[in-house]
């Protein structure tokens, strides 16, 4: 029972269709309070769709055909739009890739932070304003009184992302979904934002679902990682375990393609041959089969289930025994 309470967000068998193709297929994972759970994968693997689905913000073309999303025991998939509005920004928040574009250019940042509070707590302007000021201090923005009256165009991208984090956390949500939160920022700013997120998670016990394609970001901040490929989870494990013993060929090749500091200059980087299959050409078997160096006959006909290979470490591959040889640099 105590275990069930610690789980802030549970996603079970989430399947999202666009035009009849399952672009997210049977995705399951859970996030504990105060934990950073990373969803990693290349563009189009369904990680951002998964993020939007959690908030009920999927574009019109995409529909959830199966699955349950449970936040603190509350089944979000059963909620009406009106009920979902009370959850968004309050118990479940999201920050986006483009912080500057995510702010209304004609409203002061103070008004936008305060709005996130007043919409869920019917309080007066001055109280919401004081709360907004507290949040600016919490996200490490100097001179908060002046910043409150400024417009988004007067702030840098990193500053805007701090504002977005302040908006997302002002109602103290259980879980924060962060969709590529540092991708649009300079590398030095990225590190600051990641540190900030890490600190806030520790202080407040907020669970984070971190959507990223950047293994460096994963290594910096994540506690656990789910590697997604073509709409499915290929492997899920605690972060040290995943980096040390990747058990899916995609994970192994992905890790091998990350240049390390010992990478000799001007040498070609390791790549994975081929491309992600188009959504309308997904076959019966493993979705990675066409690019997989260790694939066998079974991989074409039968999709491998996620199987536990170590405590908390599961991978969806028929030939896990052959993966160790691929790890190369990563191992």
């Amino acid at each position: 029972m105590s275990e069930a309470i610690a789980l802030a967000l549970v996603v079970e068998n989430l399947t999202i269709d666009i035009d009849g193709a399952s672009v997210v297929d049977g995705v399951s994972f859970a996030v504990e309070a105060g934990e950073v759970m990373a969803l990693v994968g290349e563009s189009g693997c369904g990680k951002s769709l998964t993020a939007f689905a959690l908030l009920g913000l999927l574009p019109d073309v995409a529909t959830i055909v199966e699955g349950r999303i449970t936040l603190d025991g509350l089944d979000l998939s059963s909620l009406s739009e009106r009920e979902m509005q009370r959850v968004r920004g309050n118990r479940l928040s999201i920050i986006f890739q483009e912080p500057t574009a995510s702010l209304d250019p004609l409203a002061t940042v103070g008004a936008q932070i305060a709005e996130a509070y007043t919409v869920h707590h019917g309080v007066g302007r001055s109280l919401a304003r004081a709360k907004a000021r507290d949040m600016l201090v919490a996200v490490g923005i100097p001179d908060p009184d002046r910043r409150l009256t400024q417009f988004p165009f007067e702030l840098s991208g990193g500053m805007c992302q701090r504002i977005m984090i302040a908006i997302a956390l002002i109602c103290a949500p259980r879980v924060l979904v962060a969709d590529e939160p540092t991708t649009a920022l300079d590398v030095t700013i990225q590190a600051q934002i990641l540190d900030l997120m890490k600190r806030l998670v520790a202080e407040r016990g907020t669970g984070i679902v971190l959507i990223t394609h950047d293994m460096g970001v994963v290594a910096t901040i994540a506690d656990r990682v789910a590697v997604m490929y073509a709409g499915r989870i290929a492997e899920i494990a605690p972060v040290e375990e995943l980096f040390a013993r990747p058990s899916h060929p995609y994970t192994a090749l992905l890790l091998a393609s990350v240049p390390g500091r010992d990478q000799p200059p001007k040498q070609p980087l390791a790549t994975i041959d081929g491309q992600v299959p188009a959504a309308d050409r997904l076959g019966e078997g493993c979705r990675f089969v066409d690019r997989c160096p260790v694939a066998g006959d079974r991989c074409r006909s039968e999709a491998p289930p996620l199987v536990e290979c170590a405590p908390g470490h599961r991978a969806a591959c028929w030939h896990r025994d052959r993966v160790a040889g691929l790890a190369g640099i990563a191992a």
């Binding site: 913000l57 959850v87 920004g89 574009a101 417009f151």
Partner: protein, 306 residues
């Protein structure tokens, strides 16, 4: 902001000066202006005498300086037909046209903006299709036709409203609707496009993620952002309303400057026409200037720029 407004004022001044010059050039170089002013069949002696009296025999440069000087003193000349200052003739008509333009603008904005908002929010639904029919009608019906149809339906058949002349407020209704219909369609289309455009932006998705309802997002964020392009259109529409007033005032026998323009052209009262052209041009420039200033006040990126 001060620098922005100063820049726009300078542009407006240049535009007004350009208009004055074009009017002068058109008047002097489209033939002998004296001939435009005399009644048909006037004697050559009379024409020559009038030419000297009006100074058209002097060098063009002298006439131009003189003309600008007169305008600076707000001296627009004396109507050859009525023998009273041309400006006074026009000024007597201005209140009627202002009233008509205000009525038309009220119809155009009061109907057009809500229709545009409804179309944007109910995109793809039956309401949008129904309203699209209204907009298309307003947009495609020429004013002289819609004016006559309005007279026929509401004046003749139903007998609800007076159909000509200016008097009580009820005389204003039909001309305002006829004149405002086209602008209504423009406002509706512009508002719809601007709002749909804004609804697709990232900050709307972020506002939804904060827990706002669609109505809340539109009311608090989208309308203000969408207002910027619409305000610009509004300014141009005021100019178009004045141009459209020429037809509507004729159809409804409305004694404004549009009707006066037609009458003055028919009676070859050239100086009165000149005043009207200058006046309408000035209004165009002034409303564009106002739109630019309003634009700056709405957008902090301009308002706060130094």
């Amino acid at each position: 902001m001060a620098r922005y407004v100063a820049g726009r004022l300078l542009q407006a001044a240049i535009a007004v000066f350009g208009v004055l010059t074009i009017v002068f050039v058109v008047m002097r170089f489209s033939g002998d202006p004296t001939l435009l002013l005399v009644p048909e069949g006037a004697s050559q002696e009379y024409v020559d005498a009038l030419r000297v009296e009006l100074g058209f025999d002097r060098p063009v440069v002298v006439q131009y300086v003189d003309y600008l000087g007169d305008l600076l003193r707000l001296d627009f000349g004396v109507s050859v037909v009525q023998r009273i200052p041309a400006f006074d003739i026009v000024a007597a008509r201005i209140p009627y046209t202002v009233l008509l333009a205000a009525g038309a603008l009220f119809v155009a904005i009061g109907v057009g903006i809500p229709v545009g908002i409804a179309m944007a929010i109910r995109r793809g639904g039956w309401l949008e299709r129904a309203l699209a029919g209204v907009v298309l009608t307003g947009q495609s019906m020429p004013t002289f036709l819609s004016g006559i149809l309005l007279i026929l339906v509401f004046g003749v058949v139903l007998g609800w409203l007076p159909t000509s002349g200016a008097g009580d407020l009820d005389t204003l209704v039909l001309p305002s609707v006829a004149l405002g219909a086209l602008s209504m369609a423009t406002f509706a289309r512009m508002a719809r496009i601007a709002i749909v455009d804004e609804l697709g932006k990232d900050y709307v998705r972020a506002a939804r993620a904060r827990g706002l309802s669609l109505a809340g997002i539109v009311g608090r964020h989208v309308l203000r952002n969408a207002a910027i392009p619409v305000v610009t259109v509004a300014a141009l529409e005021i100019g178009n309303l004045l141009a459209g007033a020429v037809i509507v005032e004729t159809v409804f026998a409305w004694p404004g400057i549009g009707q006066l323009a037609i009458q003055s052209i028919q009676s070859r009262d050239f100086l009165v026409v000149q005043v009207i052209v200058l006046l309408i041009s000035f209004v165009y420039v002034a409303t564009s200037l106002l739109a630019d200033v309003a634009y700056g006040m709405l957008d902090p990126r301009i308002r706060l720029a130094r």
